[in-house]
Structure formats: C-alpha cells, structure tokens
C-alpha cells in the first residue's frame, strides 16, 4: 500500500483503469499518509475525507459499470484554498473567511469533479495569495518537506508541500506573481502558470484580476500536462477566459524533443542577489539544453529590471479594489455589530480584525497608488512599464522559442527570516513577475540541489502567450535528461518525514 503514494498521477490512473487497485484504495492510502505526516508539514487547512471517498467510490462504480474513465479518474488532488468548493470550507488563508462554506463550485472544481479527480482537501496559502512563503497564512506556516524549518514557497506553499511529501500526486495552485512556480522551485516539484485566460477564474477568490491565473502542480511534467488539460478551456462565466482551443500540452509532454529549438537566456535574470548554487545549477541546465540539441541565444530585456516595482504597484492597486467586497455585510466575519455602531464602523472594525498585516499593507499601498495626485506617477507609470515588458518579450520571442532562467534567486529561506522585511520577501518573485505582467506562460521544474545548502533549485521556462505546449516539450526533455543523469527523480533525495 505504501508504494501507491509514490506513483505518478499517470501511473495511478492507469493502475485504477487496469483494476490493479481501486480508487478507494488510492484515496485511503493518501488519507493515511496525510494522517501520518501532515501534523509536521501542515500542508492542509481542511481534509475532506468523506467527500474524497465518495468521489473515489463513484469512480470505482463507473469502472465496474464499464463506463469510460478520464485520464485522471480516481487520482487524488490537493486544492489550494482559494477555489470555492460547494459545501467544503474555503478560507483563502484568512480569518475574514473563517468558517465560510461556499454555496457553489469554482469552474476548476467542477471540471476536476467531472474528470473523476478526487479532491482530498484544501491547502494552506499566504492570506489572499499575498506572499512568497506561506507565512502570511492566518492559520500558521507550512514546512518545506526538504527542511521543515524552511519555507515551502508561497503563496501556494501548501500545495507544493503536499506534493513533495507524497500527500497527493496532483495539486492546484494560482500564480499572480510566482505563487505556483516559486513553491515548485523550492520543493523540487513542477508548477505551471498557464497563459493568462487559459484557466477560468470563476470561483477563484480574486487578488489581482489582471494577473491572477490558476494552474497545475505535480511531481512530473506529464502529470502537470494531464492536469492542465483537465482544468483549461474557455468558460463563459469568466469574461477574461480565452475562447481558443487548449494548446496540445499532453502531446508536447509526451514528445520532449528540443532539437533545433532556440532557447533564450536573458541577462537581466542574473547578477546581484542570486545565490551561487542557484546560478551554477541554472548554467548546467543551459548546457544540458545545448547537449540535447537546442540553440542557446543570449538576450537583453532591459525593462525587466522595473518589473518588480511595477508589480508592487499594480497588484496592490487591484487588490485594494477587489478586497473592498469584504465589508462584513453578506458573508464572512462581522465584528463589533452591537446595535450602536454604523455599517461603516462595523466594516472598518471587521477588516481590521479579519485581515493580516501583509493584506493591510497591500490594501493601503494600492489605496495610495490610486489616490488622486499620485495616480499618474505610480499606477499610471506602472502600466506603462507593463507595456515595455510586453514589448521586450515580443522582441525576444522573435529570436527564440522559449526563455529560461532560475525560477527564484535563492533556495528556501528559514521560516521567520524575511517576515518583517516586506522588500526582502518581494525579491523572491524577481524572475517570475515579468510573465504575469505580460500574460504569457511559464513553468518551473527541478534542476538540482544547490551545493552550499543541499536544497532544491528550480529552472523556469517561459513561452509566448498561447504557446503553453512549448513549456511541456522543453520541460519533458530537461526532466528526462536530469532523471537519467541522477538515476532517479530529485524528490527521492528529500529526507524521510
């Protein structure tokens, strides 16, 4: 039974379809794993035992009746607690939504259920997805399975930690500035931010609507592709959803041929602040791509040096507006309603009590950037930088098919190290943010351990908008070459929990 949890999602689905074991057995094995290790890891905020087993039983019944099963039927999944799940608590890592039971499913939730995927529960995250360490969760931090005293990345640290500790073979994340890719990098897992509009945002609690994008997290490139195909596609309930066919991601993940592919290395993704071991593993990855037959081209994207600054104006501005809905009137927390206070006073007391420090910081930052007299200098300028970044990407993609970089400048830092220094925390997203601003697609996958601390390093692959399949083609090639070189997946080297 213990081996079940080590299988990939593709292998698990195949074994269920072949009758090697039942979906219920698979679900029970993962629930047992959660019982055994999650007290230490704290990846889950809520485990939906009954819901998971009911879904598994339904898959087994379908198979018994001879009905066709989807490619991920019966495979367990850990869901970031930012997607609504009907009848199952959804907190977004915030006290303001503690105890809230959504009356409807997000589109992603619906698609997973329809595909027979078994949702084990909801994973921990930085409050409202604001953070790079999961320390901003109102429900306590998550440990990195490689070293429980270090951060698992953020905001989707719970999803990444669940994968890396074999509590689930699949997970869902969201990526506004790197919240899928940076956790993947520091836990030696795979995470993909699809092209903006590729995965529906309906039922995904909004942080920064022009940047937020849901996406797949897994332990292998193929598993991420299979999940990508299940959750992607046009949704009339999300007016920013792209009405085009889903790129052929599974086909690309099965091919993994990079012969003749042009790979860009952007010089602005490097220099001061990058850990030596991260740079070393990145350079080895570039050499590996050359060895696999790719052509490497050096590029410059000068506006990328302004991406972090633009992001920390645009994202807080949109968040200050989006989070205005938490007014203590229709759902969530209400504080101080003693019959004497006005609605406005109750709103202010509730928001003060319900939001954590980082959320308040960003709401005020956004309020400042959007206020009259400052709008042009801050928000307006940031929007212009966004144009410049998109132009730099467009120019780069005239010369290359994909761009590669380190996913994050350092390996996992100790819990507590940056929590009182917001600017230091923000630097974790230095390489991931340009993609969110331009709306194109990117992946992180493991490329080795940093020699100085033995912790995982992520390789980021960036593709043009709507060319998500290129991520999987390159990712599969790199993954296969590394696994051949190491003799096993990198995650095998993680300590036993």
């Amino acid at each position: 039974m213990t081996d079940i949890i080590k299988l990939t999602a593709a292998e698990t689905a195949e074994a269920i379809a072949a009758g090697k074991f039942t979906a219920v057995e698979v679900t029970e094995a993962h629930l047992a794993r959660i019982d055994a290790v999650d007290e230490k890891v704290h990846a889950f905020l809520h485990v939906d035992r009954e819901g998971a087993l009911a879904q598994a039983r339904a898959v087994d019944a379908k198979r018994a009746a001879g009905e066709p099963l989807g490619p991920l039927a019966g495979v367990p999944l850990a869901m970031k607690d930012i997607f609504t799940t009907e009848g199952v608590p959804t907190t977004v890592g915030s006290k303001i939504l503690e105890g809230w039971i959504p009356p409807y499913d997000a589109t992603v939730t619906k698609k997973l259920k329809a595909a027979g995927v078994v949702i084990l529960g909801k994973t921990n995250m930085d409050e409202f997805a604001m953070g790079s360490s999961t320390e901003n969760s109102a429900y306590g931090p998550t440990g990195n399975p490689w070293d429980l005293t270090r951060i698992p990345g953020g905001s989707g640290g719970g999803s990444a930690a669940a994968l890396a500790s074999y509590q689930a073979p699949l997970a869902i994340g969201t990526d506004t500035g790197g919240s899928i890719r940076q956790p993947a990098a520091v836990t030696a897992t795979v995470g993909v931010k699809p092209t903006y509009g590729g995965v529906s945002r309906y039922g995904m609690v909004a942080f920064s609507s022009s940047l937020d994008q849901g996406g797949p997290c897994a332990r292998t490139v193929l598993d991420a592709a299979l999940l990508h195909e299940v959750i992607a596609g046009h949704d009339p309930l999300d007016s920013t959803s792209v009405d085009l066919p889903v790129p052929p991601v599974v086909e690309a993940a099965r091919s993994g041929d990079v012969t003749g592919l042009r790979v860009g290395v952007v010089k602005e993704f490097g220099g001061e602040g990058y850990q030596a071991g991260v740079v070393q593993r990145f350079q080895e990855s570039v050499q590996l791509l050359r060895d696999l037959g790719a052509e490497v081209v050096e590029l410059s994207c000068p506006s990328f040096t302004y991406a972090l600054a633009a992001y920390y104006l645009i994202a807080p501005s949109e968040c200050s507006s989006n989070l205005a809905r938490f007014d203590a009137m229709r759902y969530g927390l209400r504080v101080g309603d003693d019959g004497t206070r006005s609605a406005e006073e109750v709103t202010a007391l509730t928001r003060e009590a319900g939001f954590g420090p980082e959320v308040k910081r960003r709401i005020m930052l956004g309020t400042y950037a959007l206020s009259s007299g400052y709008y042009d200098a801050y928000y307006g300028s940031a929007q212009k930088v966004r144009t410049l970044i998109t132009r730099d990407f467009d120019k780069a993609f005239e010369q290359v098919d994909v761009i590669v970089s380190p996913t994050t400048p350092t390996t996992a830092f100790p819990i507590g190290e940056r929590v009182d220094d917001p600017m230091a925390m923000y630097l974790a997203d230095l390489c991931t943010i340009p993609t969110n601003l331009a709306g194109n697609a990117a992946m992180s996958l493991p490329c080795g351990l940093a020699p100085e601390d033995g912790l995982p390093v992520g390789l980021q692959i960036i593709a043009p908008a709507l060319k998500d399949d290129r991520l999987y083609r390159v990712g599969a090639a790199v993954e296969a070459a590394f696994v051949a070189k190491w003799g096993h997946p990198l995650l095998e080297e993680a300590p036993q929990l």
Binding site: R330, A343, A348, R361, M364, L365, T367, A377, Y378, T387
Partner: protein
C-alpha cells in the same frame, strides 16, 4: 523617500476602511515609506509616448445572450450571511438616526 507619515497612514486606513491601531500606524508608516520609495522608480522609464497596459488580453465588451439560467436560491445566497431577516441580509444602520 516618499515621506509617508503616521497621519498619511491614518488617512489611508480611513479610505480603505481599516480601523488601524496606534502601533500599526507606526510600523506601516515606515514600511510603506520603504516600499513606495523602492517602487517609485517606475517613473524613470514611463515616458510620455508609451501607452499604458491595463490587461494582458485585448478584450472589450465580451457579450453573451441574455438567457435565463439557474442561479443560487435565496437560501444559498444567504447561507454565509453574518445576520439575516425575512430572506434579506441584515446590516447595521447605514444612515444616522437623526
């Protein structure tokens, strides 16, 4: 430096409906000053002839047919309400008594 003061933070708190504590006014003033000082560099490259981008997709007015479809029942819509009365959200007083 942007020169964010304690009074500025109190004003932002009022605009954003956050009843901030005295301690928060001090810590946020310092932190917001640092952050705004760092992000202000966007104005270095944001020259006149660069158009702003508000969104990655060139979308305008996505339309759909106006047809009746299932929606939440009143009971479902009220299921998370902090207080309710007669199938309505019950809220504290919005206008003054006098």
């Amino acid at each position: 430096m942007a020169g964010i003061t304690r009074e500025d933070v109190a004003h932002l708190g009022r605009l954003a409906r956050l009843e901030l504590s005295g301690e928060e006014l001090d810590s946020f003033a310092q932190q917001l000053d640092d952050i705004i000082g760092a992000v202000a560099r966007v104005s270095e490259v944001a020259v006149q002839d660069v158009p702003p981008t508000s969104h990655p997709l060139p979308l305008t007015n996505v339309m759909r047919p106006d047809t009746v479809r299932p929606s939440l029942t009143a009971e479902q819509a009220l299921s998370g309400a902090p207080a309710q009365e007669q199938q309505r959200f019950k809220v504290p007083q919005i206008l003054g008594e006098d």
